[in-house]
Subunit: 448 residues, 2 copies
Amino acid sequence: MLEPDKLSLNIPDTTKPRVVIVGGGFGGINLAKKLNGERFQVVMFDRQNYHGFWPLLYQVATAGLEPDAIAEPLRKMFGSDEYQDFHFRLVKVTGVNPAIKTVSTIIGDLPYDYLVMATGTKSNYFGNEQIKKYSFPLKQIPHALNLRSQLLQAFEQANMTNDPEIRQSLLNIVIVGGGPTGVELAGALAEMRKHVLPDDYSGLDFSKMNIYLVEGMDRVLPPMSPEASAKTYKYLMELGVVVKLNTLVEAYDGETAVLKGGEQIKTNTLVWAAGVSGALIDGLPPEAVERGRVLVDEYNQVIGLPGVFALGDIALMKTEKYPKGHPMVAQPAIQQGQLLAKNLKRMLRNERLEPFEYNDKGSLAIIGRNRAVADLPKNIHLSGFLAWATWLFVHVMALVGFRNKLVVLSNWVYKFFTYESGTRLIIRPFVRKGDRVKQEFLNKYNSD
Amino acid sequence: MLEPDKLSLNIPDTTKPRVVIVGGGFGGINLAKKLNGERFQVVMFDRQNYHGFWPLLYQVATAGLEPDAIAEPLRKMFGSDEYQDFHFRLVKVTGVNPAIKTVSTIIGDLPYDYLVMATGTKSNYFGNEQIKKYSFPLKQIPHALNLRSQLLQAFEQANMTNDPEIRQSLLNIVIVGGGPTGVELAGALAEMRKHVLPDDYSGLDFSKMNIYLVEGMDRVLPPMSPEASAKTYKYLMELGVVVKLNTLVEAYDGETAVLKGGEQIKTNTLVWAAGVSGALIDGLPPEAVERGRVLVDEYNQVIGLPGVFALGDIALMKTEKYPKGHPMVAQPAIQQGQLLAKNLKRMLRNERLEPFEYNDKGSLAIIGRNRAVADLPKNIHLSGFLAWATWLFVHVMALVGFRNKLVVLSNWVYKFFTYESGTRLIIRPFVRKGDRVKQEFLNKYNSD
């Protein structure tokens, strides 16, 4: 890895309008795909070289899928065969200067004609540095691999202690946040506890393994319908997940989670899925930012900044139907990316722009085998096998690459019939941020 | 991760003879499988929780396969449904005390009746600490993932520099060691350069990418037949690999590889596949160790140590046909493991033991698509498509799990027709041992 001062962006000069897209998530890739043609030069910046299908990230954490099944290299997606004048750069964007229409990265600045922020979100610890230090986030592939290693090592170690208190602490898993990530992770762990782990660890009593799901609101899956929440709660009960509603986690020091009200849970593994905030870029005027998101008009243009746009989770578009903004899921990002491509072309032709209208295709969550919930348009609520099959169909179809679909589908079919998956690999020495184990021990443990 | 003093091995007491196997490689798993039954308690120690099919490791490094395709969790392999009184522990073994028949681990000691060392090999840098610090080994899955990230990041950065010298250094890859690992890695990289990379990086001129293969002996693949070596050399030439025979690498500081004779190659990526030595366990008498391997008799029993055995790469069994020991590949380990299981049962019955006789099934190497070489018994030498198909068949059949076979085969078929694979993911911030980039920069680059 070279120092930044030896690198430069090397974007070719062009007479075409330059669209700079920050972020290769759902919004960014859908915009870039539709922009392809002769009219624009498209530059995409991301700190990762892949697009990830994050709704399945919990599957990587629970050893159901490997990373390549849910991620696609951006360079493969925008290969030069098909995409002209498209330029990907693996860099971190540090700021924007709207006054001179320049975006800054750690290796240099680039002038833009149109800037599109599609940076998504990052974990929000609400200022609790201790929780940030000791908890496991689940936002990126390395997070999922870390959590997987942590869970498997906890079971290995629970098998190697005679101290019942230490063993219980290793077998307690606390998931903070009852949104889709927390619910789906809790469900997948409960299925593992039932079908996979007892055979792997015959010396361990998995009736002692506790999966806690802690949610601050009065129901799980707050973004979904009350019907879906109630059904999900029932499913979680059936699977033996301990759900604590109206409950906040106030502290976690790597050993003990302290809940509001004083209850304490000893655990070596606390997963933080309780909140996100927009991954903001420096340089935006304060009036363009609200509650960690970027205020945009109905054309996804940032308030007061012509030529600057925001898409997806980072964008806060207040409409009559969605006064607090659209749900922070894939569909609004996809639809906004596709519409913005059309509108940028319209701008070139001086045509009237089309305002965004969200086409809500519904939402889905999976809790376990044959246990899923779906809110579909026209107030249709599905659950059970039908929702499960819908979930499977929608997610497999949504995966980007042809190969990924095959991998995920064959994994799923295989798992459905055998309750088995083959990826329970601890593939790296695990060092947790703030781990209290001395480095010398790790060196000794992992040498060569 | 807990401190070792809080853990203990927790192996149940038994009246049966206890066989302790150190290492879950080819020798260890074949022994354990055949020992299953009512006669022995079997304890397996490994620092990884999986068995790896290492002949395909270079495919993980070149983004052809994901780790789960070449590795199988040991607990899955020896699930409690089928294997009785089998106990896996994820620990590092630190020594053996043959006088009191005890093996030591970082979390405690365990008495054994039979101890089997099946620990394989580790990279041998021949005492060159600088090369050890700056080079990339390729012995384990984390090594392969590191190398993959390094290669992909080097291409990303080559795309982001205007300095021709820096760019060339990023596009030079030096592989030290012309054995199977070095040859197969060089071939796979050459195929990537031809079929995958130009489409991914349209701004880079891949005719400038150099793949050097440096070998100290006078031919590549020295363990194979001269016919196979000659054919392999021709294939490497056709693929544009720069092969340097009779050449040693004397120094590498992370920037410049210095060859014996003085030639220098600037490179950011030097892969060390030049030598291995046995992963020895402390406590063996010096007369039992020769050139880094453990001297064993024809029953794989360590010279002078009744009840202690060594299998596979770590074992040096000198026979008339193999005066320098058997080839350090999978087959001798597999066959020795299977035979030792039989002989341990014979010992219990006081029957005469069967001496080991190696059944050489031949050896194979793959250089590229339709380019492979095979030395088969009875002096049959194959090359080209026939050897390639044989290679594919043998390797897919050898993979341990049912699912892995499917994954590898479908990957291969897909790659064969499309020259494409989907795993070019840089899945973690890469920090090289001894990297000269400051930690603050890495923190800045990877924050959040």
